[in-house]
Symmetry: D2
Subunit: 123 residues, 4 copies
């Protein structure tokens, strides 16, 4: 019996796709918030964020984009700043058999909050 | 229109309970792994972990327990160690209307992995 | 030969007090930035920050204070926010034999930067 | 008056080189411990660690090396693991005018501890 049968038989493929994508989104946010960066180091930061969390169970792809306007506003005298949740727009694609879930984090002005939600589910 | 209608109308209450609990579990792990602690500071660490993640959307309760045997094995000459994923056993209770999901992380020896899974859903 | 003689014989007590305090300050910032909190959970968060980093080598005391005005400005629709570097005022007291160093982080408006510096050294 | 004169006039160049290198070492450890990785993603992880912390004040260069034996021992059924302090060997070069400090973290078996120390100071 594999771990899927043993630990995930109580949820559907659709539910597991949501579950695994959500774990990785919460994880990615709390792992990388606080990292020093500026415009020059965005490529290496984005790549590390994408590659590291693509390793987690059922994760097919991770796309990270950092908001340059918000970076500019947070810029310091030392020519870098710390990554914060309002600067990131991330899509995590999780796949369980024939279900693909797209989990997203995006800063929502009216909530003043970087909201994580299920953007799309393709079955 | 509130944020629930706007961003979560594409998933059921059961799916959202799974989603929100999973986010908080991934988040909690990556926020607190690495924290210095020893037997004396376990109460304050557990309390901070529980209180901080109970604040996230739909989270009803967080229960954290740290494995003392694994702490002992990781103990250093400086009489503390860093929190790692294999030491924690956490239950996160997420509630969306009449659905309660219990998300758990627990170290599974045969996987050598701190597995996150859905322990129970009460509808 | 203990670890002090083996690894720290190339620096003075004053230098080591600075060194150990600086490590713990950089560590504390990057460990806890991102943690969800609001006014109600400040006591448990401050306590965990203080107790966990007091465990590190040569650290005598850690005092954390969170800026309530900055918390208010960052407040979200979900009634909590994430801890960020501009919200914290921390003093770390490191002691090596008869030298006490006080390392501080404080947000400096003119630098738009949470500056870490040596506030005082008592010999 | 610049920030150096204002905030760092109470310590020598040598002391500030130690101070800034130590901050960045403590910070790097607690920022990146917990990150998912395996052999394939080591290059992107090392690059992000190096580039992000080279941005901090007075940091000239950061060299990260990950211990493959320790990675192997920690490998899980899911073909990745979480970065932990015992796996990393890092040198941070901090420079203040004509003083160069080399700060190092290295796992010391006899202490069962990833020790941070001043490896060398060139004046």
């Amino acid at each position: 019996m594999d771990s899927k049968e043993k630990y995930f038989s109580n949820i559907s493929n659709r539910e597991r796709a949501i579950f695994e994508g959500a774990i990785s989104m919460g994880a990615l946010f709390h792992q990388f918030v606080g990292t020093p960066f500026n415009k020059k180091t965005i490529p290496s930061l984005e790549k590390a964020m994408e590659e590291s969390f693509t390793l987690q169970p059922c994760i097919d792809k991770v796309e990270v984009s950092i908001d340059l306007d918000r970076l500019d506003k947070a810029m310091t005298e030392f020519e870098y700043t710390s990554l914060s949740g309002d600067m990131i727009d991330v899509k995590i694609y999780s796949k369980v058999e024939d279900v693909l879930a797209v989990i997203r984090i995006k800063f929502i002005e009216e909530l003043n909050y970087p909201l994580m939600f299920v953007e799309e589910i393709i079955e």
